[in-house]
C-alpha cells in the first residue's frame, strides 16, 4: 500500500479558497484521507478524537495563528509527534526561526503550486 493511501492530513485555514486549493491538490496526489477546519481551536478539538499524521496550517488566522496552533500541538501528549507544515505569505526569517524552535517540520510560501506542495509534504513524510 502506498504512503498516500495511509496518510491522514488535516488542513487548517480560515479562508475557504485556500482550503480548496490545498485539498484539491492533495486529492490530485491521491491522498483521500483529508480533513479540514477553519481555525486552530476547531483543529485541536478534531485532532483529539481523530488524529492525523500531518497538519498543514495557514499562519495568519484569527483567534489562534499557525504557530500558536503548533505550540498547542507540541504540548499535547496525543499530538506532539504530528507532522506540521506552515503555509505563510511572509516567510520572514523571524517567523520561520520561531517555527523551527517550536518544532515545525517544513513551511511553504504563498503563492505555491501543487508541485511545491508535493515537494514540501514529501520532505516531511517521504515519497508519496
Amino acid at each position: 500500500m502506498a504512503l498516500r493511501d495511509q496518510l491522514r492530513i488535516m488542513v487548517v485555514d480560515d479562508m475557504s479558497t485556500s482550503r480548496g486549493v490545498i485539498t484539491q491538490a492533495l486529492d490530485g496526489f491521491g491522498i483521500r484521507n483529508v480533513a479540514s477546519t477553519s481555525d486552530g481551536p476547531s483543529a485541536l478539538k478534531a485532532l483529539a478524537s481523530a488524529p492525523v499524521h500531518l497538519v498543514i496550517s495557514d499562519f495568519n488566522m484569527p483567534a489562534m495563528d499557525g504557530l500558536q496552533l503548533l505550540q498547542h500541538l507540541r504540548a499535547g501528549p496525543k499530538t506532539k509527534g504530528v507532522g506540521f507544515i506552515l503555509i505563510t505569505g511572509k516567510a520572514d526569517k523571524e517567523s520561520i526561526e520561531q517555527g523551527r524552535k517550536l518544532g515545525m517540520n517544513n513551511f511553504l510560501k504563498k503563492p505555491f503550486d501543487p508541485n511545491d506542495l508535493r515537494n514540501c509534504i514529501e520532505a516531511v513524510v517521504g515519497r508519496l
Binding site: S18, V21, Q24, A25, G28, P111, F112, N115
Partner: protein
C-alpha cells in the same frame, strides 16, 4: 485646449470645498472605496476559484493567481478595518486641507476623487456609478 480662467475658478472652488472636509470624512470615503474594491476582489476570487478548482489537473499558474487574489482580498479588508479603527483619531495638521486639483492630477481615474469632493455640475456628465466600467 485648456482654459486658464476656468481652471482657476475650479481650483478656487476646490479649495473652498476641501477646507470643510474633515479628516474623518476623508477616511470614511477611503473606507468606502476600499470596501468596493474588496467586493470586487470577492467576485473575482469566487469566479476564478469555481473554474480553477474544477480543473483536472490543477493549473499551476492559475492556482498561484488565486492565492494572490486571496491575499489581495484579505489585505483590502484589513486596510478597511485599520482605517476605520484609527479614523476617530485622525485630523489634518494645522492649516492643511486636501487640495482637489492636486489629488485629481495624482490619480489615474478622476472617479476615485469624485467621492472625496462633491460633484460639480461641469463634471456630472463624466460620473460613472458602475465600478465595472472603470475596470
Amino acid at each position: 485646449m485648456l482654459n486658464p480662467t476656468r481652471h482657476g475658478k475650479d481650483e478656487q472652488a476646490a479649495t473652498e470645498e476641501s477646507a470643510g472636509l474633515s479628516a474623518q470624512a476623508f477616511a470614511a470615503v477611503l473606507c468606502e472605496q476600499i470596501s468596493v474594491l474588496h467586493d470586487v476582489s470577492i467576485m473575482l476570487e469566487a469566479t476564478l476559484a469555481a473554474e480553477v478548482l474544477e480543473a483536472e489537473p490543477l493549473p499551476p499558474e492559475s492556482l498561484r493567481s488565486l492565492q494572490r487574489l486571496d491575499f489581495l482580498r484579505q489585505s483590502l479588508k484589513d486596510l478597511e478595518v485599520i482605517l476605520k479603527t484609527v479614523s476617530p483619531g485622525l485630523d489634518w495638521k494645522t492649516d492643511y486641507a486636501p487640495d482637489e486639483g492636486e489629488l485629481r492630477h495624482a490619480v489615474s481615474m478622476h472617479a476615485s476623487v469624485d467621492q472625496i469632493f462633491p460633484q460639480q455640475p461641469s463634471r456630472s456628465a463624466d460620473k460613472q456609478d458602475d465600478p465595472e466600467v472603470w475596470l
